[in-house]
């Protein structure tokens, strides 16, 4: 707010220095990263050809893994939001005993190497209760394990995002609603949540992207069984391990394409115009 004023107030005293060096410096620094990503993509493209991509797409195993990836990531995202929104809200609005501990616990999935999450899940499912559950409803090495592995990591990101979102929403709105006779629940659904839609969108994006990239826990907890628990990241690993670098790269590119499409769709549907309307009270 101050800078333009200062600029305008003293145009004659100090000759206005050009902003160009500033933009150039920032532009160069910022663009290195963008260039790096683009360069990697180009290198990837050089390592594969159209036929490779078609071949990858025509393989039933890879088609299955695309389908499983997209569906499991979406399920994980929804589940993460179901947990992330209430948990983020509680953490943001209320003081309760053990809150510091809960906060620290929620950091664990973010800090730990994903491999450790997979290993821990695998060990968890050897305890009597979960073993019994597993026999009743197969999870380990079955599709639900993929979702559970993704959820274990992705949800932490959703919770963090939602908490920050609610932190940034001024509690005044809900307080006014409460004084006007709303219950907590009504205030939440009609006042807080519509305001949090951008945060929800970010949380969803993060959770979805995290899930798509998930590899370590799935390899350990779900195995790499073709046509069963093979997701795209596993496909890349499997193709790489038989020396099929072209196919690995082709699948990587498919992953990038899928991610770009889904994230763009999410942004379009989540834009003020469409998403905003849905949330309008």
């Amino acid at each position: 707010m101050n800078a333009p004023h200062a600029d305008m107030a003293q145009p004659q005293l100090i000759r206005a220095r050009s902003d160009v060096p500033f933009y150039v410096a920032f532009g160069i620094l910022g663009s290195t990263y963008v260039f790096l990503i683009i360069a990697m993509l180009i290198a990837d493209l050089r390592f594969t050809t159209g036929p490779h991509l078609l071949q990858a797409l025509s393989s039933p195993e890879i088609r299955y893994s695309i389908k499983l990836s997209l569906i499991s990531c979406t399920i994980t995202t929804i589940l993460s939001l179901w947990v992330g929104v209430p948990l983020g809200y509680l953490l943001s609005r209320f003081q309760f005993p053990g809150k510091v501990a809960v906060d620290a616990i929620l950091d664990i999935p973010i800090v730990l190497p994903p491999l450790v999450i997979g290993l821990s899940l695998l060990i968890l499912f050897q305890t009597p209760f979960f073993r019994a559950l597993d026999t009743l409803f197969p999870i380990t090495y079955a599709v639900p394990s993929v979702i559970l592995a993704q959820f274990s990591v992705a949800c932490a990101f959703a919770v963090r995002t939602m908490r920050i979102t609610f932190d940034q929403i001024n509690p005044r709105g809900e307080q006014v609603a409460l004084t006007l006779g709303c219950s907590r629940s009504q205030a939440f659904w009609m006042v807080v949540l519509p305001e949090a839609r951008r945060g929800i969108l970010t949380a969803a994006t993060l959770a979805w992207a995290r899930s798509l990239g998930e590899f370590g826990p799935i390899l350990i907890f779900s195995g790499a069984t073709r046509m069963r628990t093979e997701v795209l990241s596993t496909t890349v690993f499997l193709e790489l391990s038989v020396g099929n670098i072209e196919a690995a790269v082709a699948v990587s590119l498919l992953m990038i394409a899928a991610a770009v499409i889904v994230l763009t769709l999410l942004r379009v549907f989540g834009s003020e115009r469409t998403f905003g309307k849905a949330f309008e009270p």
């Binding site: 659904w189 350990i220 391990s241 670098i245």
Partner: protein
């Protein structure tokens, strides 16, 4: 109660939430859809080294089509997979890239049967065209040549390379000139293919998977090879089905062909049949000791063992006339030597003592060989040509210098010790010379008198036929016979346990 309607409209946030439930339900339904059409047969879970994916996937597909049993292949690094099933104690088969992992699994008591599959050699590989002109091992030490290796502690290739190079005294300098150590051999091959290094040590089978690689033959790596096998996991709830697929994988006309197509050197495998039939010739004396073991073996393997029990002399005669069994369990090593050209190395399982058997109370007062010459004594012995018992008895009596004295009292020669014992029990004989094991089931009626001569001991060896199409199966039967449960049966039946390989 929450008001869903606000100024006549459904609350948008609620709508979004309800929508998410519907979407979730739909997605789960989409995932569950193919599960319903899965075949009803119990699937097999196979932990398979990622490097073997090409071969094993093809074999599994073929087997699924043939048998209808779904095979779930779980790929990963050999070591990682080992850790997985060690923790979750489930799954049916383990197929690591090198037998050393099976050793580890065995130590942890995680595996049961092991069936050999194929071997592969370590080779020095460069990019096709050999741009750096690498010809001998010393070229790797040149300035500007980048070498990639697998970590010797993490992967089999690295381990084998280090062992050999250490023996040649070349390891330290090679290690110093190695640009990078990778976790798996696939990473090394990928390094060479992409061009980030110039050379690396990989499996020779990679030449087929990676057509961009070229082999540089160096004498230092001759004979440096890894053997691969498939193992049945102890955790398998479906061991018979697991063994059936393991047999398919290792069959010379099925799985091994596919391995060979992918560059592996197949090891000797059995011929494929869904329910294999093993022909076992065995000395009659061994029947009570091995019968239960064989029945259990048949059930677990899903195979049939056709047993031919008889006196060993008769069995040898049958073999010499052209009947070649898959396995032969002889009453005494002398009867193995006679047909040793038909069999691979034999394993001594047990020994059995020759004794004089009399009726309880010892009415004729016999205390050793010297008493067998008394007048009016009716003695039974084994047939000198037909069985090991007879041959051993003759040999023993001759050694003791009592052959002629005893011979005049011999009223009958029988082909098996059991027949002699029966004749003794009916009262037609006063004493018989037979194995200690022959009287284990009639201990209440009979009495044994020891013979204190070295050569009064028979040794029972087991051997697998050289030409057998079921050699691996016969070897697994040997493993079953060598097991602890089998040992108990031998001891219970009056045998002394040898059980150790020759």
């Amino acid at each position: 109660m929450l008001r869903l309607f606000h100024s006549g409209r459904i609350n948008g946030a609620w709508l979004a939430f309800l929508g998410s439930i519907v979407v979730l339900g739909l997605l789960i339904a989409m995932l569950a859809w193919p599960a319903g059409s899965e075949p009803s047969k119990t699937p097999l879970l196979v932990y398979c080294a990622a490097g073997l994916m090409t071969s094993v996937t093809a074999i599994a597909k073929e087997y699924e089509a043939e048998s209808g049993v779904p095979i779930h292949l779980n790929f990963g690094g050999s070591q990682t997979l080992l850790a997985e099933f060690e923790i979750n104690k489930r799954g049916d088969l383990y197929l690591p890239a090198d037998n050393s992992y099976l050793g580890m699994a065995r130590k942890k008591d995680l595996i049961a049967e092991v069936i050999p599959l194929a071997s592969m050699n370590v080779m020095l590989a460069v990019k096709k065209g050999n741009p750096k002109g690498i010809k001998v091992l010393d070229d790797l030490l040149k300035e500007g040549v980048k070498l990639s290796q697998t970590n010797p502690d993490a992967a089999a290739v690295g381990k084998l390379t280090r062992e050999k190079m250490e023996k040649l005294g070349r390891w330290e300098e090679l290690k110093k000139h190695t640009t990078v150590f990778k976790g798996t051999v696939n990473d090394v091959a990928a390094d060479i293919k992409i061009g980030s290094v110039d050379a690396g040590f990989v499996w020779d089978v990679f030449l087929i998977q990676y057509p961009d690689l070229e082999k540089i033959p160096i004498p230092e790596l001759d004979g440096v090879s890894a053997k691969m096998s498939v193992a049945v996991l102890k955790s398998s709830a479906n061991a018979t089905a697991a063994l059936r697929f393991a047999r398919y994988l290792s069959a010379r006309d099925k799985g091994l062909k596919e391995f060979e197509r992918n560059g592996f050197k197949p090891l000797s495998g059995d011929t494929w049949t869904g329910t294999p039939e093993l022909r076992l010739m065995s000395g009659a004396m061994l029947r009570p000791a091995i019968e239960e073991t064989i029945i259990a073996f048949e059930q677990r393997e899903g195979c049939r063992v056709t047993r031919v029990y008889n006196g060993c002399g008769i069995l040898v005669a049958q073999m010499k006339s052209g009947q070649h069994p898959d396995a032969y369990f002889a009453c005494d090593s002398t009867f193995m030597t006679q047909v040793s050209d038909l069999f691979l190395d034999s394993t001594e399982i047990s020994t059995n003592q020759l004794v004089i058997i009399v009726k309880k109370g010892n009415p004729r007062n016999i205390h050793g060989l010297k008493d067998l010459g008394q007048a009016n004594l009716k003695i039974g012995v084994g047939h000198e040509q037909q069985c090991a018992l007879g041959a051993l008895t003759k040999n023993m009596l001759e050694t003791a210098g009592r052959y002629n004295v005893v011979a005049k009292n011999v009223k009958v020669q029988s082909p098996t010790g059991d027949m002699l014992v029966n004749q003794l029990r009916t009262g037609s004989l006063d004493a018989v010379i037979a194995y200690a094991s022959n009287m284990t089931h009639n201990k209440d009626e009979l009495e044994a008198i020891g013979i204190d001569i070295d050569c009064a001991t028979a040794t029972q060896p087991y051997a697998v036929g050289k030409e057998s199409g079921n050699a691996q199966l016969a070897l697994r039967l040997l493993d079953a016979i060598k097991s602890g449960a089998s040992k108990e049966r031998f001891v219970k039946n009056g045998f002394h346990w040898q059980g150790a390989p020759k």
